[in-house]
Symmetry: C2
Subunit: 319 residues, 2 copies
Amino acid sequence: MSLLVTGSIGIDTVETPHGRAEEVLGGSAVYFSFAASLFVSKVRLVGVVGEDFPSTFEKVFTERPIDVSGLERRRGSRTFRWHGRYEGDMNVAVTVRTDLNVLGETGPAIPEAFRDSRFVFLANTHPTLQRDLLGQLRGAELVFCDTMNLWIETTREELLKTLAAVHGVVLNDGEARLLTGRSNLIDAGRAVLDLGPRYVVIKKGEHGVLLITADDLFVLPAYPTTAVRDPTGAGDSFAGGMLGYLAAMCDDSKRAAPRQQALDAEASLPPERLRAALARGTVAASFAIEDFSLSGLRRVSAEALEERLERLRAMSGFR
Amino acid sequence: MSLLVTGSIGIDTVETPHGRAEEVLGGSAVYFSFAASLFVSKVRLVGVVGEDFPSTFEKVFTERPIDVSGLERRRGSRTFRWHGRYEGDMNVAVTVRTDLNVLGETGPAIPEAFRDSRFVFLANTHPTLQRDLLGQLRGAELVFCDTMNLWIETTREELLKTLAAVHGVVLNDGEARLLTGRSNLIDAGRAVLDLGPRYVVIKKGEHGVLLITADDLFVLPAYPTTAVRDPTGAGDSFAGGMLGYLAAMCDDSKRAAPRQQALDAEASLPPERLRAALARGTVAASFAIEDFSLSGLRRVSAEALEERLERLRAMSGFR
């Protein structure tokens, strides 16, 4: 097992029709780590916070097998802060305020001990920084990245270089359309394949996810939770569940994956394994959005996880 | 077999990014009939046109087992006309012009020979007219209706009476939200169940359909066609495929349904049969949207139908 995530660690203030959470733990790398830790025996987290990062937040990581030796607490800097609001159907976050703070400075360095990581998730950040981080990861065998509209619009050429360097990409429907200029999502997904990634995962929020590879087209509905309280972190929790499962399938030290399966970097992942990974991501995200901050993910039991997987299976299929 | 549809028969002018069709055959009952005729040995069509309805359009019905003895050609009246435009991702039709014409007059009458129809689809029209038509159908065992925002907003009480009188309803996501005030679609679907219908089908366009009953929750993706030329009639073609299949399953004269299965009006339809019906509707709609007017549905072969069902099956499912 060696799954590494680089991304933001932040202090969020979130308002939804169901309540308000003030100055809570958030950030892409945090949601990813918690979700991945449902499947894998260790997650390596790389990111930077400021001097103001509460020690109580650091303690939260100890609940799960999350290795925070790549978490840099930078002197004289302040932690990234985001204040967002969801209204109505909560499908879109309105940003009230963003303070980049330490995220506007030099990026983190990958600790020497982490450079052999085989599975890597480059959460959303400047595509040049994504590539710099990837350059420090010589052992990477399966790399997924995320991105956002901002980079598609302002640093397209850099983003294209990053996409050419990764195996997979996770992006939402709007981003897939913006990136490719194709309105049909299957067309858009295939156009992203042409940019380099072998695995294209398009997130459609309440409508689920789409997997597009050269050999497979897989459509998975979202888990039918009606108890959505805070959608923050849904996408990163999805990615964490997905890559956590894929890493666990190659992990001999984790009971959840009895067989050690070597990952051939040049071969494609079996479609069945990818499909199964998307299902785990979907279920992880369903827990994340049921409460504010990490509360939903922190209380997931193995039984609840299995039950939701079974329910998701039962929702599709016909003769 | 006795499947009857009441709805509009119109002359459409449609513009999409892929072309323009001028004064072509359209209307909800027309799309429904063609799609249903892929599964069932006879469809009974009830609707009204004006003196201007081209005889060439009437000939089109003879290609399929569609009984047009309920098609009234009213003297001194003009046929319903709709001019619409689809832009960008073609998810929403912009109405350029609507001439209700004969649809603004007295509704059609159900011919005596049609009053024993067991399966009925009341396509979108004023809910009072839907109930009047249903009152003439004493043999109806399974009745589905459609509706639209206009009736939800302007004749809500009448619509609620209609919903209380049918077994199933087919509506799109926006309509389900407007009708129930619930933004979560599963919540919304369950709230519609409380209004009377036993079977609630929510259409989500490119994201597929959702079936909500007391016993089942089924999510089916749309067929992944990338060749959408004109989305007009997608919803009615879906309903036609769905009810055509359900009727065929109770039809001993149609080879597609080898076993005669009695429909117990008081019992619920088996979830598997409903799921299978939604899949047939999805595939029928996929053909309808690949060309203008009825052109897509007119050229469907049994082989192409089976092939798409198989592809739809292969798209979902995971371990």
